[in-house]
Amino acid sequence: MSLKRNVSLATGLRYNGQGPMLTYVLHRIGGLGMAIFVTIHILASFLGGESGVFINTIYENWLFQIFIFFCALFHAINGLRITILDLFPKLLEHSREAIWIEWAVFIPIYGIAVLVIISTAFGG
């Protein structure tokens, strides 16, 4: 059993999937980002000592916090949209509108969080 898709990478990158495609890509990036973060975090707290302290300094960096909070918040809100639409399939008729609602929820929360992270990092 071996699948062949016969689609080159260049064709894949040119595929114009619009809003739903964007959420799908960001959901994967967010999920992978969190999976890698949680794995390293569990291993670091298990090992402790110097390596644990070193990894902690990475978490405390404001750039890393902005990235991982994007992963967690987008994955959570997009996952909630997917869950609601999948458990109530009648709502799938409004899937485009659901994505607009999702961004309307995500952008203010994430914007405030980024402001707080930056002001904490540079305001002391």
Partner: protein
Amino acid sequence: MTTTKSRSLPLTKRGLNFEMMMWLFTRLSALAMYGLILVAIVGALIMGARTQMNMADVLRWSFMTSSTHVQSTDITDLAPWASPFWRVTGSLLLLLAVAHGVHGCVVIADDYIVSHRGRNIVRLLSIVFMLSMMGIGLYILWTS
């Protein structure tokens, strides 16, 4: 714009296999994790987070209810934060999150690794990885 009606088969016509169970588990575990995080936030507010923790501390605690996540805050008495209730809550969140995450990684890997043999290797490795992460996580939660 043309409107398309959604098509969905009733459960009896779809059949119930392992992939379908995991599809359902992904959704239900997500809902359960929202619930556990909400319980952790409410619990933190009851235990005195309103005056002794900032928002970032509350979030760090709510994503994993381990008392080590409270050590660097103004909370002085860690005992209520290390109670068996919070250890069980944290353990549930850990088990759900690891299973949810490992299954997600297998789904992503299946898009790029398409040979039968390769997929079997991915499944074997992911089961070993999942069990070891659950073991290490539970060890940290119950000994810290």
